[in-house]
């Protein structure tokens, strides 16, 4: 009986990878545990071991294939003495890949696509051409189509006509750190696995080679210790970038962040403060359950003395990280594991520095304002496309920072659209959206034609089961329902 060897998932968030190399040949006998292939994810090159014994009958995916989806059969194994089975259907990986060029952005969280969430792919360019946006006959005006390439670039903050290049958020973050380390010898990076391992999520790839072990420092697993050490070094005038492998682990360090980093400037009557950047992935990844899937945006946004940044697009990630490193205050920089691998256009500039504390209108619109941040931006981008089908012209705002929180931009938008939906991944109680709702009712009460609608993570610890996890997170359906409720449709 033949056994199919499937493309394995090598991390919680991996959806596809490159089959870099076959280490066995067709016809070769294989024992369980033999290393048979090398697979590259966006984070690492991993070895694949055989689980079953037999003879490698057929290689189905040749080496060098990119974009091989998890669970695609990659080879066939027969028990000794058997013949190889009939040739399998041609692998789909190649063709899917070419359809998908440079649109990792659209890779939905769920490997099993939900009907509304992209169906495996590429909403973006069809929509950008206006092809998908058929206005509902009942509407008198058509919606401005969402151009995702435009939305990804902070055009209002950089010179018109600046060239862009496609980069992953991961690369943009790495470049931001490298540029700032070249610029200022007081900047250094420390954290678990940032140096020799090149970063648990490969954000610090190449930095050890360029800057050496004095400035790219592997720490022991000791969050409270190295966070405090970083804050102390910042008191002395250095500019540490402290990476938490994820923000979940920074709970061990939250006393140093809040009591030592955030408050010292005030307690010292201005004599000394903490110019430190604390960064790492925040929020739910995929299937890592309650202790590894928390969103800290609202937690840190609560603390005077901290600045809190949570970008989505690569350009914002780069420009805001550079700003954070130059800032004389402690900056909490919230990244997102799922977003790391997404590709966006990034302006090619010597020095892309963006303002902390400014939201960005990523798509103008007249009918309703959708506000979000970080990974959840993906939901409102999709929602804008869906709403456009009904002729509803949504204005999209990426908060980018949550402290300072740029409610002025949100309020200006509400005064135009009169309707507001805020989408965030974190818990609902005392959240970013509850704060925005409070401020909008205070400053734009008379402009609201409907209650402020909120779509948040559910008020539960993150469950492990795939279906429950999906229910716990905000969904496109929920955003659409909220938008329609605000529109009384």
């Amino acid at each position: 009986m033949s056994v199919q060897i499937l493309m394995p998932a090598l991390s919680p968030t991996m959806e596809e990878g490159t089959l870099a190399k076959w280490l066995v040949k067709e016809g070769q006998a294989i024992k369980a545990g033999d290393v048979i292939a090398e697979i590259e994810t966006d984070k690492a090159t991993m070895e694949v071991e055989a689980v079953d014994e037999g003879t490698l009958a057929k290689i189905l995916i040749p080496e060098g294939s990119e974009g091989v989806k998890v669970n695609t059969p990659i080879a066939e194994l027969t028990a000794d003495g058997e013949e190889a089975g009939a040739p399998p259907p041609a692998p789909e990986a190649k063709s899917e890949r070419s359809d998908q060029a440079s649109k990792k952005d659209d890779a939905a969280r769920e490997p099993v696509s939900s009907p509304v969430h992209g169906g495996g792919g590429s909403l973006s360019e069809a929509k950008a051409d206006g092809g998908g946006a058929s206005p509902s006959p009942s509407k008198s005006r058509t919606a401005t189509p969402l151009n995702r390439e435009e939305a990804a670039v902070p055009w209002g903050e950089i010179p018109n006509g600046t060239k862009t290049e496609i980069q992953t958020v991961r690369e943009a973050l790495r470049d931001a750190m490298a540029e700032e380390m070249r610029r200022d010898a007081a900047v250094f990076l420390m954290g678990e696995e940032v140096a020799q391992y090149q970063g648990a999520y490969k954000i610090s790839q190449g930095l050890l080679d360029e800057f050496g072990p004095k400035r790219v420092i592997d720490t022991p697993i000791t969050e409270q210790g190295f966070a405090g050490l970083g804050v102390g070094a910042s008191f002395a005038g250095l500019r540490p970038i402290v990476e938490f492998m994820t923000w979940n682990f920074a709970m061990q360090a939250i006393d140093q962040i809040v009591n030592s980093a955030a408050k010292t400037l005030y307690m010292a009557g201005g004599q000394m403060g903490s110019p430190i950047v604390l960064r790492g992935p925040n929020g739910a990844a995929a299937r890592v359950a309650a202790q590894h899937s928390q969103n800290y945006a609202a937690w840190y946004a609560h603390v005077p003395g901290l600045k809190v940044v949570a970008p989505y697009f690569a350009a914002d990630a780069k420009g805001l990280l550079k700003a954070a490193i130059r800032d004389n205050n402690p900056v909490i920089f919230l990244e997102n594991e799922i977003v790391y691998g997404r590709s966006f256009p990034v302006p090619v500039m010597d020095d892309l520095v963006l303002p902390i504390g400014k939201a960005r209108v990523v798509k103008p619109g007249n009918d309703i304002t959708l506000v979000s941040l970080s990974h959840s931006m993906g939901l409102i981008l999709d929602a804008a496309d869906e709403l456009a089908k009904d002729g509803i012209d949504a204005e999209l705002i990426d908060l980018r920072s949550v402290r300072p929180l740029d409610t002025a931009t949100v309020i200006a938008s509400v005064k135009k659209t009169n309707r507001l939906v805020v989408v965030e991944e974190g818990w609902p109680i005392c959240s970013i959206s509850s704060e925005i709702a409070a401020q909008v009712q205070g400053d734009a009460f008379d402009y609201l034609d409907a209650p402020v609608m909120r779509v948040t993570g559910k008020d539960v610890p993150m469950p492990y089961a795939a279906n429950l996890e999906k229910l716990a997170l905000p969904s496109l359906d929920e955003v659409m329902s909220a938008a329609k409720a605000a529109l009384y449709r």
Binding site: G228, S234, F235, L238, S260, G269
Partner: protein, 327 residues
């Protein structure tokens, strides 16, 4: 007085400085206690009375540019670091003339100029911070050393050992000065601590440690010189366990029922660091009663002036509420 070769331990100027500095702390703290009783100082107020020899001996062992950080029993450290008594006392009364303009209070005071990095209110939190100051020295390849003070209570905090580990791995120039006054608030060390010889706490990190009579300023100074030199030449961290004693409660609101009056009395009578030094100086002919009395008078005047300044200095302007939150 000529440079005395007769003084058995150190030169006359140094002993006189020790005496003066310890006395300043003692009188300052007594006055702070009085002002607290009058309602002029609020909140928590942790007095250093009894432990003066530790900080005075250690501060004499460092050089300008070396850094100091400690916890909330910090008034003595600030005075020993050369900060102005007026500014410290005015911070205790919450006035604009205080080191933090009245916004920090007893537990949170800093001086960039004197390299005093606080003044931290969370038990043990200053230990990673001090380790980070030492890290900055190493990063800059200078030969500065950081003194990181903490107590026997903080010695049971996990972050202390996280710091020990990093300091040893990276050979950071930090002297961990454990002020073992034998009570973590109301809990005697024997009730809370499996290894009560705290200088041994670095053993599993390969950090050398030493027990020192913290009631003897000369012993502290000698041990401090050695430890600082060890750090300054790049040999990594060093632990000094100072056996000391606080006469007053943990804070002003602590009646100290967890120990006997006799125990306190015994320490005051037989081990007082100031009386001990005074007797030694007179015996060695370093100072006579008249000279020491003159110092006493000078200190009383300084402290009286500080208390007056701290009461006359205005409260901070209401607008100060909103300043210095961001740089």
């Amino acid at each position: 007085m000529s440079k005395t070769a007769t003084a058995p331990s150190g030169n006359a100027a140094l002993l006189t400085q020790f005496y003066r500095d310890m006395l300043l702390i003692r009188r300052f703290e007594e006055r702070a206690g009085q002002l607290y009783g009058m309602g002029l100082i609020g909140g928590f107020c942790h007095l250093y009375i009894g432990q003066e020899a530790v900080v005075v001996g250690m501060q004499a062992a460092i050089e300008p540019g070396d850094q100091v950080i400690t916890a909330y029993r910090d008034h003595g450290h600030m005075l020993a670091a050369g900060m102005e008594p007026n500014g410290v006392m005015a911070e205790l009364t919450g006035r604009s003339g205080g080191y933090s303009k009245g916004k920090g209070g007893s537990m949170h005071m800093f001086s960039r100029e004197k390299n005093f990095y606080g003044g931290h209110g969370i038990v043990g939190a200053q230990v990673p911070l001090g380790t980070g100051l030492a890290f900055a020295n190493r990063y800059r390849d200078n030969d500065r050393v950081c003194l990181t003070y903490f107590g026997d209570g903080a010695a049971n905090q996990g972050q202390v050992y996280e710091s020990f580990n990093m300091a040893a791995v990276w050979k950071l120039p930090v002297v961990y000065v454990i002020e073992n006054n034998q009570y973590a608030m109301g809990t005697a060390i024997s009730r809370s601590t499996s290894e009560t010889h705290l200088h041994r706490r670095g053993v599993s990190f390969n950090i050398p440690g030493e027990e020192v009579d913290g009631m003897d300023v000369e012993a502290v100074y000698a041990a401090g010189r050695k430890a600082v030199e060890h750090c300054r030449k790049g040999s990594g961290p060093y632990i000094l366990e100072m056996k000391t004693y606080r006469y007053r409660g943990h804070s002003m609101s602590d009646p100290a029922k967890y120990r006997t009056k006799e125990e306190v009395q015994e320490m005051r009578e037989k081990h007082d660091p100031i009386e001990g030094l005074r007797a030694k100086m007179i015996a060695a002919g370093v100072g006579d009663e008249a000279a020491l009395k003159a110092i006493d008078k000078e200190i009383r005047d300084i402290v009286a002036g500080a208390a007056e300044f701290a009461q006359l200095s205005p409260e901070p302007e209401p607008k100060e509420l909103w300043t210095e939150i961001y740089a």
